[in-house]
């Protein structure tokens, strides 16, 4: 490689590493704040070497916060499972069949994602009042379908489009039925897509703030809302706020890291399929 090319490569590497530091810095700052005491947080210049304390975590891990975590987990998993169950077959049908209105359907799906959360929150809030679904996990699971179901259909359709029909046809020739071919041939092939989609659904559900803010109070409060609720309680005890924020983002980070390749695929497949 020419000298100039090598120099360019080095420059790019350095630039990217610097960028990585800039991107990570705010996130890391919150992490380190969560293990400092209140005084250390306010101290300027900030001490680089300090004994980390887990007091903040201990103090906020009370029953209310624990319950909010359980709520988040239950609601996210359930809504993901439901969305996948309902959406995957539909996406398959959309991909394989030749409906004339398929294009319009895609537009409707896209349009439903255009609405800000409040567009759904107002009617759901009013209806849930009557149905007694306010402050319930079920209520959240149902309203999460507004974004999860369309996401599943949108993403899985493009994954199925990329799975050649040849394989199903081969299976039919071998004597498999329609449903069997779908379950035994197509789904396993689309497994990366399924995983990516499920993870994205889980992510969106876990990270939701607005729906949970308005539609829950105490019983079904989810983790993101609990952190904010907590934020205003002791009036800006930064250590606890940082600890709360760290706990809320931990599952998401761990999960994303484990499946980072699938995640990238899931996000970019939309771009390539257009």
């Amino acid at each position: 490689m020419s000298r100039r090319a090598r120099g360019e490569r080095a420059a790019v590497h350095i630039a990217v590493i610097l960028l990585v530091i800039v991107v990570l810095a705010p996130f890391l700052w919150l992490l380190q704040m969560s293990v400092k005491t209140q005084e250390e947080i306010f101290a300027f210049p900030p001490k680089l070497l300090f004994a980390p304390t887990f007091e903040n975590y201990r103090a906020l891990w009370d029953s209310t916060f624990r319950r909010s975590f359980a709520n988040s987990a239950a609601v996210s998993v359930t809504s993901t499972a439901l969305a996948m169950l309902l959406g995957v077959p539909g996406a398959y049908a959309l991909s394989r069949a030749r409906f004339r209105s398929a294009g319009q359907l895609s537009l409707w799906v896209l349009a439903s994602r255009m609405a800000p959360p409040i567009a759904f929150t107002i009617p759901y809030f009013l209806v849930y009042r009557h149905l007694g679904l306010l402050d319930t996990r079920t209520g959240l699971v149902v309203i999460y379908l507004t974004f999860n179901l369309s996401l599943v259909v949108w993403l899985m359709r493009s994954f199925f489009d990329a799975t050649p029909r040849l394989l199903e046809e081969a299976a039919w020739i071998d004597g498999a039925g329609l449903r069997q071919a779908f379950l035994r041939i197509v789904l396993p092939l689309a497994a990366p897509g399924l995983a990516a989609t499920a993870i994205l659904c889980f992510l969106y559900a876990w990270n939701d703030f607005f729906f949970a803010l308005i539609l829950t109070r105490t019983e079904a409060m989810t983790a993101p809302v609990a952190v904010v609720n907590f934020m205003n309680y002791e009036g800006w005890e930064w250590g606890k706020i940082a600890a709360g924020g760290t706990l809320v983002m931990l599952p998401v980070l761990v999960f994303s890291f484990l499946v980072r390749n699938f995640l990238v695929r899931g996000l970019t497949s939309g771009a390539l399929k257009g």
Binding site: F42, G87, P116, I122, L126, W172, A181, N207, F209, I241
Partner: protein
Amino acid sequence: MSAIASAGRARARAAGPGGAALERRFHWWCLVPTLAVLGVVTLLPTLYLLATSLTPLNLTQPATQWNFSRPLRNYAFLLSDGRLHGSLWVQLKLSFWTVSLQLLLGFAVALMLNLRSRTLEALRTVFLIPMVLPPIVVAIIWKVLYTPDISPVHWATAALGWPLPTLITHPSYALGAIIVADIWEWFPFTMLMILAGLQVLPEEQVDAARIDGAGPWQLTVHVVLPFLRGVLLVAGLFRLIDSIKAFPLIFILTDGGPGTVTEVTNYYSYIQAFNFSQLGYSSAITVILVALTVVVSALIVRAVGWGHSGE
């Protein structure tokens, strides 16, 4: 892969076992639950929202719930509501700056990461972090960075002799502060999409242009960007739609203030609905907002052209 798929479709389609009719029925059975649930979950609430926007619904006065006596009253109010107009202007500014800067920054970083290097591929994962974080945590992170008492940024600038004013309470800088936070959170999204696009850019096109004597600048403008048009459109469109939904950052950082300089329409609607209980009026605002979003998106798609063969 798409070539194979379309080739598969171009061939005479071997019908599934049981014939074409059975296959069609199978597809219907797969689709009906999806459509039914989707319809109930999205279409009905939309109609309810529309209906509510035609009433003066206020929860302290139950009688207002189904009062359709003056259906267009809320919409008439919209026309004279200065605060609403202000919020639309703020939304315009926010969307313009965040989308354009995210595309720009994403493009620049994608170009850098497009080099074949193990290190760079590993580092790609790091960029995922800002966009998978719960938005509320992102808001908390930036609340910390913007609070003079505890912010390393404020400390650093003060130590260097250029003390920063409190950005989130400054009318000229509050929106900028939110824009910066939003860019930090979402440029990885555009970056990843553009990177995926760059990685399927055919080498031959680049080589051919180089042979013709194109420099890096011309390469970018005449070869790379046109190829990426579809990706840029989709990424930009997604970010535009998401920018209209902006909530956690505003909620935590500025509460729409100081004054109303960071109050976007979505946020104003929230205040009307859940601070003042004016659900009827808020519904009208939301309806208009959604309509505008759909129209603007459609216009953009038409103007730029939907990159690949039409959907």
